[in-house]
């Protein structure tokens, strides 16, 4: 018998066809609007090796990224078992489909995080978020210096520049949705604003971020 087994709601290791896979068309490569140093990152190098079934590289990738991925999943699910499942499923997907990554898809770290986030989001949307799980970590979104963390690579620096132009109260809506995986309705409850206001604010901020990032990319290209 090979494969993974779901046990008692604990070791739910089945990997289902992930929606993220289905939205990675081989044709029509995406047009990037940020300058990425993805191709040169250690993560990207390891992904290339994983695509060649290099088990040593997979182990190194796990050691390099698992704490980041688990932190992201735990913040969304608030449940260690679900967070473990999300990372497990995403890493298994990486092992089997590492060749689907290319630098055109953005930073390698961002790609990995996307896999874990979609898995974690899928879990909590289906099963609900644990209310008795781990305590909420520090409110990174309300930390005035939080944006200083967005400097680890050029993607982060570009995003930080644009996020700094956004009113902090509006910026918080984006961070709550991305970091905690809150739906628009949940964000509205959290910030005690009407749902319609939250939706329209999120959309305006997203569009302004896109505009800002595209302008920044143009400057860098020129």
């Amino acid at each position: 018998m090979t494969g993974s087994i779901a046990l008692g709601g604990l070791l739910m290791g089945f990997v289902t066809a992930n929606s993220f896979d289905r939205m990675q068309p081989d044709a029509a490569p995406p047009r990037l609007t940020v300058v990425s140093d993805a191709a040169g990152s250690k993560t990207a190098q390891l992904l290339v090796q994983c695509a060649q079934a290099d088990a040593k590289a997979f182990r190194q990738l796990y050691e390099l990224c698992s704490a980041k991925l688990y932190g992201v999943a735990l913040r969304i699910t608030r449940n260690p078992a679900l967070a473990s499942d999300a990372v497990h499923d995403a890493m298994l997907q990486v092992w089997r489909n590492a060749d689907r990554y290319s630098p055109d898809r953005g930073s390698a770290d961002g790609w990995l995080v996307s896999l874990v986030r979609y898995r974690a989001l899928d879990m909590i949307r289906k099963h609900g978020r644990e209310t008795t799980g781990v305590d909420a970590p520090e409110q990174v979104d309300e930390d005035p210096d939080a944006l200083s963390r967005l400097v680890a690579d050029s993607d982060g620096a570009a995003l930080r520049n644009c996020m700094e132009d956004v009113d902090p109260a509006r910026r918080r809506l984006i961070v709550l949705a991305f970091i905690e995986g809150l739906t628009q309705s949940e964000v509205a409850v959290r910030v005690n604003q009407p749902l319609g206001t939250v939706k329209s604010t999120i959309r305006r901020v997203l569009m302004s971020l896109r505009s800002c990032l595209e302008q920044g990319a143009k400057v860098l290209r020129s």
Binding site: M1, T2, S4, I5, G8, G9, L10, L11, S19, M23, P25, A27, P30, R31, L32, T33, S36, A55, S66, A67, Y70, G71, L74, R75, I76, P80, S84, H88, W95, G106, S107, D109, G110, W111, S114, L121, R125, G133, V134, D135, E138, V140, L150, A152, G156, L159, I174, V175, A177, F178, I179, G181, Q184, I202, R203, L206, M207, L209, R210, L213
Partner: protein, 232 residues
């Protein structure tokens, strides 16, 4: 249904941001599956927003997570200069249990078949009864135990961990458990078939030297590498 579904750019942005409910998530995924341009738009938004993950502090996952991955991928001997199988090299003598009603039993790889995917078996328990703790006996003799739901004992009560080696009649206290992962060092090295038990005790733990409350959770250590099998 989100009223942004008629604006592909906004819809893709909201999907990548992660703020859609399940129905809209599924709609976005279906749209991406049939529309490469929409799928590319989502990837673009992932690239734009992806760096936000840097705002989240890293958290070390439970050690058992890699074990699960190594099993699921069939990786037998990665990243070890000795050339020995990973299980032999990294978890020689180690044992794992899933406590509560879910038992996770690892069977050793047959000798002489190093490239065959890892074999394992499991005793299934009712799905309505999720496991509470996961424990792993490490090669150095320590036992790492993780509370899977992170919930503490009820107010005024404590969870106390006990070891009961096969054939022994009296359990030995390994201390009180707190939410999260903690590492305890048993007085004697853990052995196969040894039971780990968690009892309900008053705050501060049992004062009698043995469990005084109900034994709420239990599991049996099972080998996860050939080196851990009895007799070696």
């Amino acid at each position: 249904m989100s009223d942004s579904t008629d604006d592909p750019t906004l819809f893709a942005a909201e999907y990548a941001l992660g703020c859609l409910d399940l129905a809209d998530m599924r709609e976005a995924e279906a749209q991406a599956a049939r529309d490469p341009a929409f799928a590319a738009e989502i990837v673009n938004w992932q690239a734009r927003l992806g760096a936000l993950h840097m705002l989240v502090p890293p958290v070390t996952p439970p050690a058992i997570l890699w074990s699960r991955l190594a099993l699921a991928t069939g990786i037998g001997k990665p990243a070890r200069p000795s050339g020995r199988a990973f299980w032999q090299a990294s978890t020689a003598g180690s044992l794992a249990i899933a406590a509560s009603l879910a038992l996770f039993a690892f069977l050793p790889r047959p000798p002489g078949q190093p490239t065959e995917p890892a074999r394992f078996a499991a005793a299934l328990s009712p799905l309505a009864t999720p496991a509470k703790f996961m424990a792993e006996a490490r090669p150095d003799g320590a036992i790492a135990i993780t509370s899977l739901d992170g919930a503490p004992a009820p107010s005024g009560r404590a969870y106390q961990l006990w070891a009961l080696p096969q054939g022994a009649a009296v359990p030995v206290s390994l201390g009180l458990l707190t939410p999260g992962t903690q590492v305890v060092t048993p007085p004697a090295r853990a052995s196969a078939q040894e039971q780990l038990l968690v009892s309900d005790e008053p705050a501060g733990g049992s004062t009698t030297g043995g469990p005084t409350g109900a034994v709420l959770f239990g599991g049996r250590l099972v080998p996860i590498s050939p080196a851990a099998t009895p007799g070696r």
